[in-house]
Amino acid sequence: MFDIIKKEELNTTVIKMDIKAPLIANKAKPGQFIILRVNKDGERIPLTIADHDLINGTITIIFQVVGATTLLLSKLRVGDQLSDLVGPLGNPSQLDNLKRVIIVGGGVGSAIAYPLAKALHEQGCEVTVILGFRNKELVILEDSFKQVCDNLAIMTDDGSYQEKGLVTNKLAEILDIDTKYDEVITIGPLIMMKYVALLTKKYQVKTIVSMNPIMIDGTGMCGGCRLRVNEQTVFACVDGPDFDGHQVDFDEAIKRSKMYSDFEHHQYDDTCNLFSKEVE
């Protein structure tokens, strides 16, 4: 069992939690993820490790309530326990020798981008961050990012905060002036990563994407997380989760991500009903 030490709502649907897991904290590196189960018969869901604290022996997860399991998770309080937690899984992001990087985060993906920005900043890299959100209410981690980057741009779809537009608008603006970046790293919705990769391909800037497909075990066993990368089938859990964005077949990944969407909506509605009944 794994204790929830701290809980904070970053916006109306995004929650940050610190969980006691000293062994995982001890080995965690930026880019890696964990798999958790909320309760004994629960689903196994993968979440990126957003931060870790060696002194307190905790890892941080940041998640958006999108389905039944994240809804259940969001209802847990400090002092409650998770049934299972396994990690750190996947290969750490390759950050060595990076001197000048643009990080593009979308929505809750910004949370996953944060540890990368922090690690790069600590190694003396020049970090430019572009974050995209639907509106002002959904903006997260602005202050945290400010501490770890040289330039920060926040884009909102409706213009309710800072600049109106998509992350790709800002990225094009930057790359039009200067393309001498070692890498663009992008994390967020598949559709956003697809268009970031298409754009950077035009400018010939190497682009790393972080993939988070449907998976069960996270150890290479189920094969459910397979992706087409450079015309080969790879497993996101053991071969990734980071891949060369110019090689990933995003259209396939988007279709695969919807495999269980009917079931997921149904489960989510059921779980919502369960909670509303409790309130009554």
Binding site: R44, G87, P88, D217, G220, T233, Q267
Partner: protein, 455 residues
């Protein structure tokens, strides 16, 4: 010549909608009658066919004398998991193949008797005898049949054994792979409890290579390590359409059903409830997947196998059970493409017919494509069960550990790897094989570790 006594089964019509166990086991009378067919041969040919060398005539003699616990003790001396082996061993190619009764008639049903003895033992709750501990620590990676067997033998010899398991429950392929109707999870749990009663510690959610490396374990004072991480990585055919929605690796399909209980009404785990399901492959995994699909409500389940019935690697009994349940076998058939619709959902399987040519390296006749034999099969789910490869994680994260070109860990005749005091066995060494072969490797390594640490 007396006839072999069949085990009673739940009838095919009922069981094809249910995940409860198909084979019901012998009653005491049946076990006695079958045991009396054993000729108690002096040279014990059956024992030579048993990978873990159970003294078969001796345990059967105890059954004849109605000393069932005595029979259990004899089996327990050689096997840590008798309730499991009695259910899943391919006896017809092992012990029973060498039975003298089998030359002119039916071999003694050794597997059925083993199951009877193990079930009797567990039903009568005989407590495991505690052994005295020495202070030597051994770590076992993976709680599948190989790791459990190795742990059992080491614990019986007094070692302090810790098993590290990556998933949230112990059992490996016994819990994620083999379905409930063939191996009830309650049985696996009892066999595992038996080990924890012996003093074995099991740590779940521990993915070795990530949370701790093998070198970390060595520096924590584990004096020997056994790697029984299995062959987890599913193989694909590398044909067009394999990533379509509705195409599963058998591992994923079985894991969703067995480990994550997708067959239960309120399960939180989604699975495709296909109506027309094709399973590619001919091993036990293929048959298990096909029978699971049927139980999830499929109307038509086909097993596509590129060789003929004679080459089927699956356990004979399961093949017969599957056929009785209405599963169709397409022998000498090979898929060449999976077709889907605009929504990226699988719709058809394109296959070719094969014929058997000259024998290949394995001694089996190599299937070759029959010209102009292409045909289409309508499907909404395809399950690929063409074998698995060893998981690369341990290899990636351990220095000095040599592996073969296909990823199998290299060991010597004692089960020792190229890294001092690190042993390995089971599917991690051989590639996908059987439960009993994995147990045999676990036993061998345990014997070597005991000899080495007691020097």
């Amino acid at each position: 010549m007396s006839k072999r006594l069949p085990m009673s089964l739940v009838d095919a019509k009922t069981r094809k909608h249910s995940f409860t166990e198909v084979a019901l086991g012998y009653t005491e009378e049946e076990a006695l009658a079958e045991a009396n067919r054993c000729l108690n041969c002096k040279n014990k040919p059956c024992v030579s066919g048993c990978p873990v060398r159970i003294d078969i005539p001796a345990f059967i003699a105890k059954i004849k004398a109605k000393d069932y616990e005595g029979a259990y003790q004899i089996i327990d001396h050689s096997s840590s998991l008798p309730a499991i082996c009695g259910r899943v061993c391919p006896q017809e190619t092992q012990c029973e193949k060498f039975c003298i009764q089998g030359i002119k008639g039916d071999a003694v049903a050794i597997g059925n008797l083993e199951r009877f003895v193990a079930d009797y033992h567990y039903q009568h709750q005989h407590k495991t005898i505690k052994t005295k501990h020495n202070n030597k620590k051994v770590a076992i990676i993976g709680s599948g049949p190989s790791g459990l067997t190795c742990a059992g033998d080491l614990a019986k010899a007094g070692f302090k054994v810790t098993i590290f398991e990556a998933l949230h429950i112990a059992g490996g392929v016994l819990v994620y792979g083999i379905p409930e109707f063939r191996l009830p999870k309650k049985i696996v749990e009892m066999e595992i409890n038996n080990l924890t009663d012996l003093g074995v510690t099991i740590e779940t959610n521990m993915i070795i290579g990530r949370i701790k490396t093998i070198d970390d374990l060595i520096s924590e004072g584990y004096q020997a390590i056994y790697v029984g991480t299995g062959a987890g990585l599913p193989n694909f055919m590398k044909i067009k359409g394999e990533n379509l929605n509705g195409v599963y690796a058998a591992n994923e399909f079985l894991t969703r059903v067995n480990l994550m209980k997708a067959y239960q009404k309120d399960s939180q785990t989604p699975i495709a409830h296909g109506k027309k399901v094709a399973v590619v492959g001919g091993g036990n995994v293929a048959v298990d997947a096909a029978r699971c699909a049927l139980r999830l409500g499929a109307e038509e389940v086909s097993i596509i196998y590129r060789r003929s019935r004679n080459e089927l690697p699956a356990r004979n009994e399961e093949v017969i059970h599957a056929e009785d349940e209405g599963i169709k076998f397409h022998f000498l058939t090979n898929p060449i493409e999976i077709l889907g619709n605009d929504d990226f959902i699988v719709t058809q399987l394109k296959c070719v017919e094969m014929e058997l040519g000259e024998p290949d390296e394995s001694g089996r006749r190599r299937p070759v494509v029959k010209a102009g034999s292409e045909f289409l099969l309508d499907v909404d789910t395809v399950i690929i069960a063409i074998g698995t490869s060893p998981n690369p994680l341990i290899k990636m994260t351990t220095d000095q550990l040599a592996t073969s070109s296909w990823g199998g860990i290299i060991v010597n005749e004692d089960g020792l790897t190229t890294k001092p005091m690190v042993y390995a066995g089971g599917d991690a060494v051989t590639g996908s094989a059987t439960v009993i072969k994995a147990m045999q490797a676990g036993k061998l390594a345990a014997k070597s570790i005991i000899a080495e640490l007691n020097k």
